[in-house]
Symmetry: C2
Subunit: 480 residues, 2 copies
């Protein structure tokens, strides 16, 4: 774990990402194709993400449940688009307890089908609706090209599945989760600004009526889809016979939704905030928010005095600040500082014999490396100083990412402008083209329509492809 | 969800268990052989168990991580006893992305092997030890005869895996987890008294040096193994080359441990406390601790007044008491009461127009059904009254289970006595037999040595099989 081992972003952005993952102890490859080991530091961050999401999922009325890992292959075949989307990338269990199975079981790539079978049993009358279920689980998609967190064969996620009496209610749910659960968590906890909007047909979930997404910008100007929420219409209800008796006694198909975010968010976190020195973590999900690194010089007695000062200073912090005193005696001060910087700890406190004399400490901000981020502050009231600084860092990271996105978002009035500008970030453009247009644009520019934002301009404009007047503005970008 | 659908324990204990699982909405079968769906009420209880365990696992110095679901079959083959124990019951993935795999992957039945491979990479020097890792995961064992929670093909669990420099340290870890994590949680949160002790060779984990366990008594007098902690010696370290450079520079094999508890604990919870009316939950893990059921009579105005009184009474309870106001207007009072009893809610508050006049409410304890558990209490100070009652119920459930265990634990001085008494519960007996003796006893009595308790008598006695003098007393029982 050393910043010397991290490739500069400007030199090789892709290698920089892999170096951060490795040096910060986030994950490592396993002996299983495409599957990663999530190491303790990476998993601890995931736990904070889970906790923040779970609270929001519950606050919006959902309850957790758990459905089987294995799905009979025949279930997957019931919804036509769904099977086309997922069948080619499943892992299949064909033997159990030493015997060939009569029907292969697939490891869930997502659980609409097996949950659909349960929903068909659970929903009888309009009084059973809405049915608001969430599941925390591992899923598997047999990806050919994998990258830690961003695209792995196995990944961890939550998947929400709900059933409603009307299309309006399903639509309301789909949008509520996108904004009140996903965008709220990603912006306020992960400090990553996102665009909220609708996906085009090309990017719609297999089997869905409409897919909504939140999209974030990474530091190379590429987009990362951070979460999706699908209005499944009645497609799965019809495939799995999720029917209810309405208040007036008629039999109706339910309207269902599904929505998910995954360990991919950790990839977004890394690529949004980190720098050439290592990980940079927003305080809200930093496993260690503050590290205290004592400056140990002189006699054993002097050292003991410094350590005691550290302990006195942090007495009473437990439960308010997640802190760690690095009292290892086998590592040098510089080595420790380097290690905590690589791991992204938001605030470092340095205390030496001189600080004790003067009643001060050094506070160093991870988000502003070097001298600029260092300040001497009084020991008195240090907990409050630190809490205020953590808040400030959280805000700063969000504002910095937002500023970066704005500086790398361009308007294009013509297709030529799109081609040129999409090399450097997001491009906002009027567009009313169809799937074929999108495919051609992707071939020629490597960019796709990431999202049709909810925020639309009040004036119409001319489509950059057809030249027709349209009210629809979209965001084009290359993406992960 | 109705108590009328629950078979009496005295009539058919096994059916009673299945009825509780179904009527209380804990789990249900899925279309996948041996795999259950954990329904919201069951899962919410699991979340409390997870949270209580996770806090203790972290407080004892462990960190969480995540390892792949799939394990190359060759890993499983590296430790001789381990492969013998687990190979016959694995599910195998032989196809991925539409192609046959070169080497089959098994769905983890437990993760010693894949974690062993990582530990071999992570451990270099004595300074890397102890390595204290835990994982929350789903695992799969292709069981032939399954029962919800007690024995399912897929189940949820945590598995701890640690590496140490010396045998003493590994042993200390094994015992610490058994007592400070498992026994502490099961007794203080789940209100289930357990015996702590060593397993005999017959019941030792495949590949372990020693297995320790906590064992609980169910209401039919049978034992349920609630958690195990294994000292793996150097067996896995040798199979997976987990080596470290000692302080003096020599190369040594590490000593490893593993330990786990699973959703099986929910089966123990049901069978320890519940009654013929449904589930009985200890307040510490009841998703709803208190339900308020208003008595809605008279005019709409009267009803509104009762509901308002309920809201006024519970104002300020959020964050202190997990409560729910059952304000459904489409269900009768009796139906509601029945439903909450079946679901095991520890305390029910009833309020009607008369109570409002008198400034009282009715408190009903789930652990004492009928009139005996009902009392009128003043509305003033209700939150404190309820909090005290929840504490009392928690203690009462533990004491009641302990009393039941004591009343159903017998001493046997001879094999004949064992045969007779083990029909009705646990039997304490002096025993120094070997594996063959145990097997014979199991064939003849259906009972096994559940545990060699840490608490041993100060005086030696005569082995019930060999007649030899021995210091070792064991607990025999039939088990789940």
């Amino acid at each position: 774990m050393a910043k010397e081992n991290i490739t500069a972003r400007s030199k090789d952005y892709s290698q920089w990402y892999l170096d951060i993952v490795e040096q910060a102890g986030m994950s490592e490859p396993s002996g299983v194709r495409g599957c990663m080991i999530i190491k303790p530091h990476g998993y601890a961050i995931w736990e904070f993400i889970v906790s923040a999401l779970d609270a929001r999922i519950k606050a919006t009325g959902h309850v957790n449940a758990y459905f089987p890992l294995l799905i009979p292959k025949s279930y997957l075949m019931k919804e036509a688009d769904h099977v086309e989307g997922f069948a080619p990338e499943v892992a299949e269990v064909t033997r159990g307890g030493g015997k060939e199975l009569e029907e292969p079981l697939v490891i869930r790539p997502t659980s609409e089908t097996i949950i659909g079978v349960s929903f068909a049993r659970w929903v009888r009358s309009w009084r059973d609706l809405p049915l608001l279920i969430n599941q925390w689980a591992n899923v598997m998609r047999w990806e050919m090209r994998t990258r830690p967190f961003l695209r792995t064969a196995e990944f961890l996620w939550q998947e929400g599945h709900t059933a409603h009496a009307t299309e309006e209610q399903a639509e309301e749910e789909t949008l509520k989760v996108l904004t009140e659960v996903y965008a709220d968590m990603v912006e306020n906890v992960m400090a990553i600004p996102v665009h909220r909007g609708l996906k085009t047909k090309n990017e719609t979930f297999p089997g869905a009526l409409r897919t909504y997404a939140i999209e974030a910008m990474m530091q190379d100007g590429k987009a990362l889809q951070a979460g999706t929420s699908h209005n499944l219409g009645q497609n799965f209800a019809k495939a799995f016979e999720i029917k209810y008796a309405s208040e007036s006694g008629t039999e109706e198909f339910a309207w269902t939704t599904s929505w998910g975010v995954s360990t991919r968010l950790i990839g977004a976190l890394i690529m949004c905030h980190s720098d050439d020195d290592g990980l940079v973590l927003p305080p809200a999900l930093a496993p260690v928010q503050v590290v205290i690194v004592p400056i140990m010089r002189g006699s054993d007695e002097d050292k003991a005095k410094v350590l005691q000062a550290c302990r006195d200073l942090t007495a009473g912090w437990a439960g308010k600040i997640r802190f760690k005193l690095d009292d290892r005696d086998n590592e040098q001060f510089g080595y420790k500082v380097n290690e905590w910087e690589v791991k992204g700890v938001p605030v470092r406190i340095e205390i030496g014999p001189k600080d004790i004399e003067k009643g001060t400490v050094v506070l160093a901000r991870r988000d502003r490396p070097g001298k600029e981020g260092k300040s001497f502050v009084p020991q008195e009231g240090l907990a409050d100083t630190v809490l205020a600084l953590l808040d400030e860092i959280q805000t700063t990271l969000y504002q910095r990412a937002l500023k970066f996105r704005e500086e790398h978002t361009f308007d294009a009035a013509t297709y030529e402008e799109l081609k040129e500008k999409v090399e450097n970030g997001f491009v906002r453009a009027y567009f009313d083209g169809d799937s074929e247009d999108e495919k051609r644009i992707q071939e020629e520019t490597k960019a796709t329509v990431r999202v049709i934002p909810f925020d639309q301009p009040s004036e119409p404009g001319l489509c950059i492809v057809s030249g027709r007047s349209t009210n629809q503005q979209v965001i084009f970008a290359r993406s992960y």
